[in-house]
């Protein structure tokens, strides 16, 4: 079986999905089911105190018994905020160690602050977290994060929520070639072909949220992403043909044609 292994645990799906921006929890649940994803990201936020006693809880729709939840540090701009958020997540999820670290540097681009990300990763790894880390497509940053002990490197394809697709496949290729832990594209995927390209490049998986949640039909897009990730992975494993830049190669026999070929 061709499985994705992260921090010693085996997953059959290479598509990881977020739970943000959906109309309601029922749409969230339907999209996740259609995506086939097993690892599901969640955010950690302050709760309303003393109000909305019957407010529905995300974890009722996405139960930790059924999915591997991946709490994130979205919205955190400092080491301290990110580390505290994940400590709270671990308490919330009964000692759960797998987390997604992102330390942002700028609210307009949501570009990662690599210096702060590295500092946070060092603390979290020492505290026993299995850190999947959101990073830029800088191969040196990726290598340093791996050396610290992150269990997966997750470079952006383009800005979070932009849907701009894979803007620098060459850098992703360098990161993939160098890494000994799984590399997952996190952020920037806009449609199914983007996900397929990521897997064709040799990425071990793709994490996405907006591409599904902001589609006109999120459940159908979730299904499309599932197929794109499977197709991209199979194409990668199959090994693509070599590109021939300036010469065609006929697919049909050249002998026995009833017409005569034009002279060279």
């Amino acid at each position: 079986m061709d499985n994705l292994i992260i921090a010693g645990k085996t997953y059959s799906s290479r598509l990881l999905v977020g739970t943000g921006k959906y109309k309601d929890f029922s749409e969230t649940r339907a999209a996740i089911e259609a995506s086939g994803a097993e690892i599901i990201t969640v955010a950690i936020r302050r709760t309303n105190i003393g109000q909305h006693a019957d407010e529905p809880n995300l974890l009722d729709s996405v139960p930790p018994s059924k999915y591997t939840l991946l709490p994130n540090t979205a919205g955190c701009y400092t080491v301290d905020d990110a580390v505290r958020t994940l400590r709270l997540a671990r308490e919330l999820l009964d000692g759960h160690a797998l987390v997604k670290l992102e330390v942002l540097g700028d609210p307009r681009t949501l570009y990662p602050n690599i210096v702060e990300t590295i500092k946070a990763a060092e603390i979290l790894v020492k505290e026993g977290f299995d850190v999947m880390v959101y990073t830029s497509d800088d191969p040196i940053a990726a290598r340093q994060l791996e050396e610290i002990g992150c269990v997966a490197i997750m470079p952006l394809a383009s800005l979070i929520g932009s849907g701009m697709g894979i803007l620098n496949p060459w850098n992703l290729q360098i990161i993939i070639d160098n890494a000994r832990v799984p590399v997952l594209v996190d952020a920037g995927v806009g449609t199914a072909s983007d996900a397929a390209i990521a897997l064709e490049l040799g990425c071990d998986g793709v994490l996405m949220n907006t591409a599904i949640a902001a589609a006109h039909n999120p459940v159908l897009m979730a299904s499309a992403m599932r197929k794109a990730v499977e197709a991209g992975r199979e194409a990668y494993l199959a090994g693509r043909m070599a590109k021939k830049m300036y010469t065609a190669s006929p697919s049909s026999p050249v002998e026995g044609v009833i017409a005569s070929a034009p002279s060279q």
Binding site: T19, V42, A43, R46, T47, A53, L59, P71, M208, N209
Partner: protein, 67 residues
């Protein structure tokens, strides 16, 4: 009277209160929450033992949709 900052808002309490009582009184019992007190996690097993003191800062969080 003590003042506690809870999720960024200051609240007054007229008598000593532990975290378990705070959770009960705010309809949070049995919910999937986590609590941090002055930057340190409060394990659920310690809710009854930890009494809030003047100037404490509490964060009470839940999981929400996100990517």
């Amino acid at each position: 009277m003590i003042h506690i900052t809870i999720n960024g808002e200051t609240r007054q309490f007229n008598q000593p209160i532990n975290i378990e009582q705070f959770v009960d009184e705010n309809n949070l019992k049995g919910k999937r929450i986590a609590i941090e007190r002055n930057g340190e996690i409060v394990p659920r097993s310690q809710f009854a033992e930890q009494f809030l003191t003047d100037g404490d800062r509490l964060e009470v969080v839940v999981a929400v949709g996100g990517g």
